[in-house]
Structure formats: C-alpha cells, structure tokens
Subunit: 392 residues, 2 copies
C-alpha cells in the first residue's frame, strides 16, 4: 500500500497517472497536482475517482512541502516543468520523501541541460535516507537502462553508443511539437554536443546529420543533438569511447523552426509588450497546438533505441536495442500520442520499482546505476516491449 | 503661412515630417503627434526644432479635437494606423479642418479594406466646408494620379489597368515587413480580388501570379492581390474593363509568411495569455524588425507603376508609367528605406497641393478625381521622378 503524489498533469503526466491507476495494488493512493486546477480536475474525472486532484505552484518549495505533508506521499513523481525540479527536490529532502523525474533541471533564463544542480543534492538525499531517481522517461530513462543491460548481458566491452530517436508519425497540423513546445524548442535550437575520446565536442545547432536505418521504419535522416543522458552515461560508463544522440526531423518541421527562429519567436529573452515583459517562446507555446491535442489524428510509429558497438568473446559486435510505439495504439489505450506514452510509461514503471523496493539506493541516482532487469521486464509488460537485433 | 498637424510618426510619418521641414514657406508651422511620446520627441530632435512634438491617442475623437484646437492646424495629415482613420476624420469635421491620409479605414477585428466608411463622411466634410483627401501615398495615391494622367493625356479610351508594385531591395534580416507588419500581413493574407467586365472576382490568397517585366529591374514574379485603389478607380473611371493589382514577393518572404500563418502567429483573433487577451499578429509585430530599422542595410530599388492598355487616335496602345526609388538614396537623404520614402513623399506633396489651393474640393476626394499635373510635377521635384514608356 503506497501513496504517491504526481506533480504536472500535462500530456506525459496524464499517461503516468492513467497507468498508475491501472495498478491499484502498487499505487494504492494517487494524488495529482497541477498549477491549473481545471486541467488537474479534468484528468481526475477521466480517471473516475481513482486519483485525488490538488492545485500547486511548484515554483515554491513551501507549496510542495505543504502538499506532501497533506497527502503523506512516499514518492513524488515530478512531471512538471524542468525549471521546477530543484524546488520539488528540496521539498522532498525537507519532508524525507522519495523523488522521481523524467527531465533534468534547466535554468529558465538559459537553455542549458546539466545534471550538476541535481547531483549537488546527492548528499542531502542520502542524509534524508531518500532516493532521487533522475531521468526516468524514455530518453533519458529507458535508453540508459538499454545501455546498462547491454553492458551486463551483451558486451564484454562497449566502445560506442548512438542513441537514436525517430518519430515517424504524422498529424493534421502543419507544425506542432510533441511535448511542451517551450522545452522542445529550447532543446532543438541549442548547440549540438557529443563525447569522443575523453572530450566533449560542440557543433552548430542541427549542423550534423546522417541517414540511420531504424528497425521497422526504414532509413531516416537524423540530426546530432545534445541530450541529457549523454552526461550521466559518460559519468557512469567511463569506458565508452564515443557517445552521440540523434533525432529525426522532417524538412517541413525544420523549415517551420528555422522561420520561427528567424523572426525571434523562439527567443527566451523577454520583450516588452504593452508595458509587460513577455518571453516570445512562451507566447509561441500558447498559439501552437498542445501536445495532448495531437493524439487523435496522429498516425505512424516512434522508434527509440541505442546502436551499440563493442566486443564480446574477443569478437567485434554491433547491436541495436529498441522499442516501437504506435501513435494510434497509444491513443486508443490512453488518449495519448506515442511521445507522451513513451515518456509516461517508464516513469510509472520506475515509480513501481521504487515503491516495491526493487530499486532503492539513497541519494541522486541515474537509471544506468541500477539493475535494468526488473525495470525492462515491467516495461515490456506495461505497453513498451523492446527488442535486441544483432547487426554484427 | 500654414499650420499642419501630422499624426503618426512611424517610418512613413517621419518621411512626411522631414520633407515638410524642407519647405518652411509652405509648411510654416509643423506639429507632430504620436501615441508614444518618446518616438515623437526623437523625430522632433532629428528635425532640429522645425517641428513641435505632442502626445495623442488617436483612437479617441476628443483627444484629436483638443490637439487640433491647441495647434490651430488647418490640415491634419493622418499617418497613424488605418483603424484610426474614422476618429481622426470625425475630429476634423468637428473642428472644420482639412484631412489627408495614405491608407483607407479598416476595422481592427477584420482584415477588410473598403472606402465605404470614409465615403460615408462625404456630406459631413462638405457641410464643414472641408476637404478629406483619401489615399495620398504611392499606391494608392501616385498610382491613381498616373491613371488620371493617362486618361487626360495618353489615351482616348482606357481598357485595362494593371498596377504593379515591385520591391527589388534586400536587407540584412531573414524576414521583415516594409511597413507596419500588422497592416502589411493583414493585407497580404487576405483573399485576392480584381475587377473585370463589371464584376468583382475573388481569388485565394496569393494563388495567382505572373512574370512582370519591371522597367530598370527586369522580370519578376508578382502576385495578384486586392489593393484599395481598385475600389476608387472602378468608381471614378467606370469605363475600364479590367483592373488588377500585382505585387512581388520573394520565395523566402512567402515561406516565412506561410509558416507564421501555419502556426497562427498572423491571426487577429486574440488568445488568452497569462490572463490577458493578446492578438498574435500584434505580438509578432513587436518581435519583427521595425520598418524604420531596415534602411541602413537596404540595397536595391523599388519600381511601382501602372501598365495601361487602351486606344488613342484609333490605334491600340500600351504604356507603363512608373517611378524607380533607390533604397540607399532614400536612406542617405532621410534615414528611410524606399517603401517609407515612396509613401511619405506623396503625402507631403498632396498636403502642399491642399495648402496652396492647387487642390481644393469639399467632401471626401480620391486622387484620381483631381488634376494630376501639379501633383505629378511636384512629385518629380521632391524626389520621385516618374517616366512613361510606350510599349505599343
């Protein structure tokens, strides 16, 4: 019997909530909270009384502390904005509550992805005898578990990892982002970055691309980007020689993005409008379709995984370990599109590991530091089957 | 000795002001007013004491009335937003003051161009013994005078008119509009419309295009658009069989526009942002470069004119009557780009005709209803020479 508090009822948060509600033996009391009370209440109604809605502004530690105390949650699942990671983590430390999130902290005024701020709270979580499970979505999250699994079971020595992320789906809108547009565009428009031979190498935004053969999808053009799991994997798998992250984008998507950048609509520098400061990117978010609204018309599949090269039993080896998720299937099950589904399901499965004790380690912990087996096994049982293909 | 009040010190308003300041014998007292006091004061400083700045919100008749009474202006030159035409006209009627503008009234909540609202004030201007000179920029304005000139001097019978507008200049920005972005985009994104054989024909926005050979520039792709002078020319030259308006746009410009439309940033429907209604197009205006800022880097020329077909002395005839304006020349003279220059100079020249009595007719008057000669002669003397090429 466990009580959880989920903060952030956006598209992915709604997936986590609905998935938890399917497992009342594990998640016996589910509280959900959001800045917008209407949105939270709507989700609670959708879950037919299985969850209790609350209102919270997660920018403020004290509001989160009050809500944790009120709900007596054992674990907080943070599906709010990355800006809010630290306030929620501090509230967990203060109340001695376990913590889980899917995206690393980033300061609001700068598009900068780094675990450093969260790792700085490692000792505080240890002192509170609590676990902070960082980055437990698909990527980061499942991709990290894929790497840990490959290290344990498929290789004697890993040399290179390419994390590859393809959304081959199409929807009715000329342009929309698949998760929070503000976070999505910040991520895509930043400089590329990868790790090779002990050094980090920076590239111009979206300046490097290559054709990648995605299982069950085919060859697609993917762009080199920086993505947060690179940082933790380099730290925890120090033997790897190179690790990169690739994501596919259509020409149409990139054209829309380029134009929006050209006219400064993706800027996070506030401008004065009618006597008030407004961040163009935040305004853009309001005119774009919400990620949750895409599900209905979304057709096609996502393929996310890791292409790993190394050696086993004295021989060169290359494998790809991946999941395929179908947009329409996700919509039929949970009214969600595949990008929200693939983020939300691993968060639920990770929370399950914490609550059942399969995963328990005090301090801040990234997925690759834990035994991947119980997590990957549950993942396959809860909607995200995965496959290993030997390409040697 | 005449006193004028100019309202609206944007890019084109600044051209009118500086041009008037060059003619102290005609414009002996120049008052300028704007909603933003800083902008108005800056222009006054630029004109080194030749003009007196004021603050006004031209949305309100009574504010304009007070300012007219305070300045004792004989003529109000309206270079403000088209939404404000009617309030300024009503203030002129109330104070028995002549009026001049460069763009017809359009309601704020709908991109609709029509003289009807202004023509409805004809009798009121007549009763006030005043003239309201409508559409005295380049197009409408000079193009109307070109048509009147062609009718008087070049043809026995005009059959078709194509008004052609090419901006062949290039500046450093990936995307910017040449005048108020809000008004510009409203104009371009509306449905096309032209007149043929007694009927108005509507087309999808930018759906019809053709290559037009622009004198001194060459062949350029131009798009059929609705433009306000079509309405008045059809009324005052009822003999013409067809009249159309064509404007050039680069592929890059249209791509940017298409994307901004796709993401709803050109919409004039307000959305809720942070508890306040904001019109996306008005927000977009704030992130785009201001038209006045383009001058420095603008290279190239504009060519605007009329291709007219008809008969003279029993023979078929085709002429093009046009002006060429160079962006860099305009910048060197007035710190302006050619699109502001070609709008502002005709407004000054029109104001000169009103104040000297060369043009005086009570009621609402469009340019083609007046003798084109004094206007076109002055135009050539004040920076906008024009040419007639016989293409028969």
């Amino acid at each position: 019997m466990s009580t959880v508090l989920l903060i952030g009822t956006g598209a992915a948060g709604a997936v986590v909530t609905q998935k938890m509600a399917q497992l009342p033996n594990i998640f016996s009391r589910i509280h959900i909270a959001n800045r917008s009370w209407e949105k939270c209440q709507r989700l609670a109604e959708q879950c037919k009384g299985a969850v209790t809605p609350h209102q919270v502004n997660a920018d403020y530690d004290h509001e989160v502390v009050s809500l944790i105390e009120k709900t007596q949650a054992e674990l907080v699942i943070n599906m709010a904005l990355p800006y809010q990671d630290l306030s929620i983590m501090r509230a967990c430390i203060q109340t001695q509550t376990h913590y889980l999130d899917t995206a690393n902290y980033e300061p609001k005024e700068e598009a900068k992805f780094s675990y450093s701020w969260q790792w700085d709270l490692d000792q505080a979580f240890k002192s509170a005898h609590c676990m902070a499970l960082l980055g437990c979505g698909f990527d980061p999250g499942v991709t990290n578990a894929f790497c840990a699994y490959a290290k344990q079971h498929l290789f004697d020595e890993i040399e290179t990892i390419d994390i590859v992320d393809c959304n081959d789906g199409a929807h009715e809108h000329p342009f929309a982002t698949n998760f929070n547009p503000e976070i999505d565009i910040r991520e895509i428009t930043q400089r590329g970055r990868y790790y090779a031979n002990g050094k980090w190498i920076e590239t111009e935004p979206l300046s490097e691309s290559k054709e990648i053969d995605f299982p069950q999808i085919g060859s697609r053009k993917a762009y080199l980007m920086y993505h947060e799991e690179l940082e933790s994997l380099v730290k925890h798998l120090p033997e790897i020689k190179r690790i990169r992250f690739w994501m596919t984008f259509s020409e149409t998507y990139l054209n829309h993005l380029k134009v929006l950048q050209n006219v400064n609509m993706t800027s996070i520098e506030p401008i004065m409008y009618d006597g008030k400061e407004i961040v163009p990117l935040q305004f853009l978010k309001e005119v774009l379709p919400s990620p949750a609204s895409l599900g209905q018309s979304y057709q096609g599949k996502t393929c996310i995984g890791c292409i790993i090269k190394g050696r086993q039993n004295g021989r060169d080896k290359q494998i790809v370990i991946y999941n395929i998720c179908d947009h329409q299937n996700a919509f039929q099950e949970l009214n969600a599109q595949a990008v929200s589904y693939t983020t939300g399901v691993p968060a639920m499965v990770g929370a399950k590991q914490v609550l059942t004790g399969a995963w328990m380690q005090h301090g801040t912990v990234n997925i690759e530091q834990l035994d991947p087996m119980p997590f990957l096994k549950d993942l396959a049982n809860h909607g995200l089957p995965w496959h290993v293909e030997d390409q040697s």
